[in-house]
């Protein structure tokens, strides 16, 4: 490690705010919504206290937050915002435009369930609802990861091969509000890592006007979408390059996902976000009992690392795919759909059971994890039939 870490204790929201302070972006339009509200609050205090020279726009809605972010980023300013749940849903139209206009905006999403019923607690329905908007999506297990991911977001987004917006996701309350230990980086290396934002073309470039957001006839629109898809494909290699550079600075290593005790695992739990910590704890306990179990914690959901996931699972006997989101398709959540499709396309044939857990903040415990691994084992070893789409922790008469 090239830099001495700064040991601290802070919440996920504080960790993001600290990263923002270090990056010192040009503009932040934001509108408060639980549980992300603290982030614009903290940035506002940094501004008031002279710790950053970011311009804050106290917009009147999240739709306007993303609209202003699009204006600001097009104008040549490094721009970021924060939101949750309904706020992200209200931005939906603008999320698509941020991506199709190829603007490297960074949004920190503090995951919270979507209404209804209205509820302020964590699940991934907000982020998953935006999965096809053309944003890169990176999920974190804890405050350390969200801090590290945030710093990596700008170099990924602004890379000329990419030019796409990035969503840095953390679990509402569980990560955003829980105070944990964290290793922070000193300011200067972070600033050097992120660099200054020097777009080639932007609105405020005297003598070099540009035009953003055309009406496109069909003869161009499909081509534009394909070019955008290619940028998302390019993002995969850029994410790994940036992670490597980040590791050189911080000593912390990142990829598309983390394979935890997967070397010889027969049974795998594929999961995203804070619940991966619970899964790892259960796996440690089960390994003590000699069970060959492991966790695949997905970090990068967009672009979706389908081949790499298939490769990581090819020697397993069964996988539990954990969705913290209901997609109402009658089969499984979005992660279930994408992972199983990926396994099929890559000709990896194993039992895959889809679970829905933790909706609207429902507890998810090591007991649940052990039950799931037990079910996978009985499915494979005893041929016991189990439903391939199940809820965890649900009260039922059945």
């Amino acid at each position: 490690m090239s830099q001495e870490p700064i040991r601290e204790r802070m919440s996920g929201n504080e960790a993001v705010a600290e990263a923002i302070r270090q990056v010192n972006p040009d503009v932040m339009p934001a509108f408060p919504i639980t549980p992300s509200t603290e982030i614009p609050q903290m940035v506002s205090s940094f501004i008031a206290g002279g710790k950053v020279d970011t311009e804050f726009i106290p917009v009147e809605s999240e739709h306007s937050a993303m609209s202003a972010a699009i204006g600001s980023e097009s104008a040549g300013a490094r721009t970021m915002t924060a939101t949750s749940s309904a706020g992200l849903a209200l931005m939906w139209e603008e999320l698509l435009l941020a991506a199709s206009n190829r603007l490297p905006i960074v949004l920190t999403l503090v995951n919270r369930t979507l209404s209804g019923p209205i509820n302020i607690n964590c699940d991934h329905s907000d982020g998953m609802g935006a999965r096809d908007t053309g944003w890169i999506q990176i999920y974190a297990e804890n405050n350390q990861e969200v801090y590290d991911n945030y710093i990596q977001a700008f170099p990924i987004a602004e890379d000329a091969r990419v030019h796409l917006p990035v969503m840095i996701c953390q679990d509402g309350f569980i990560t955003s509000h829980a105070v944990e230990n964290i290793n922070l980086l000193p300011d200067q290396p972070v600033k050097d890592f992120v660099g200054t934002y020097e777009p080639e073309e932007f609105l405020l470039n005297p003598g070099k006007p540009i035009a953003v957001g055309p009406y496109s006839i069909s003869a161009y629109a499909m081509e534009a979408k394909r070019a955008q898809a290619e940028a998302m494909e390019n993002a995969a290699e850029v994410i790994l390059e940036v992670a490597k550079r980040f590791e050189e600075m911080s000593g912390r290593s990142y990829g598309f996902f983390e394979s935890y005790r997967m070397e010889d695992a027969d049974y795998c739990m594929l999961i995203m976000g804070s619940a991966a910590g619970t899964a790892k704890q259960a796996v440690d306990e089960m390994r003590e009992e000699g069970k060959k179990v492991g966790v695949l914690k997905l970090r990068v959901f967009r672009p979706f690392p389908e081949k790499q996931i298939a490769e990581a699972l090819k020697n397993c006997k069964a996988v539990a795919i954990m969705d913290r989101c209901e997609s109402y398709n009658g089969n499984c959540g979005p992660l279930g759909s994408e992972v199983t499709a990926g396994l099929y396309r890559n000709k990896v044939n194993l039992e895959a059971v889809c679970y829905t857990y933790g909706l609207a903040g429902r507890d998810f415990t090591t007991t649940h994890v052990k039950e799931i691994f037990g079910a996978l084992q009985s499915l494979v070893e005893e041929g016991k039939k189990i439903p391939h789409n199940q809820y965890i922790g649900l009260r039922t008469k059945k």
Partner: protein, 110 residues
């Protein structure tokens, strides 16, 4: 990365279109000729014109070019033939003719 609009057309491969379909140039629409929309065509009768310029700002298409303080003949590449200039000329110096055809230039104007 400035854009040459003449290099973009409906046959251009996607790799060669501009990023995000942005244009890295201003005023490229001049290359798009709207003159063929005309069903009626204004004719500038220079000898009747007193250069009051009332016709210039009423044109929706900026198709009455100026040279210093004087208006010139119509920009027929873009004039859509709406007739607003004709209607607002106090001196009868604009005449409307049926059809899209550009009137032949008279010798004295050249």
């Amino acid at each position: 990365m400035r854009t040459d609009v003449k290099k973009i057309n409906e046959q251009t491969p996607y790799e060669d279109l501009t990023e995000g379909l942005m244009m890295f140039a201003g005023g490229t629409a001049k290359e798009f000729k709207t003159g063929e929309w005309r069903t009626n065509t204004p004719v500038f009768l220079q000898e009747k014109c007193r250069q009051c310029l009332l016709c210039v700002p009423v044109c929706p298409d900026g198709s009455i070019p100026m040279d210093g303080e004087k208006r010139l003949d119509f920009d027929y590449d873009h004039c859509k033939g709406c007739g607003i200039c004709y209607k607002n000329c106090p001196f009868g110096a604009i005449e409307m003719r049926e059809g899209c055809e550009v009137p032949a230039k008279e010798g004295k104007e050249a």
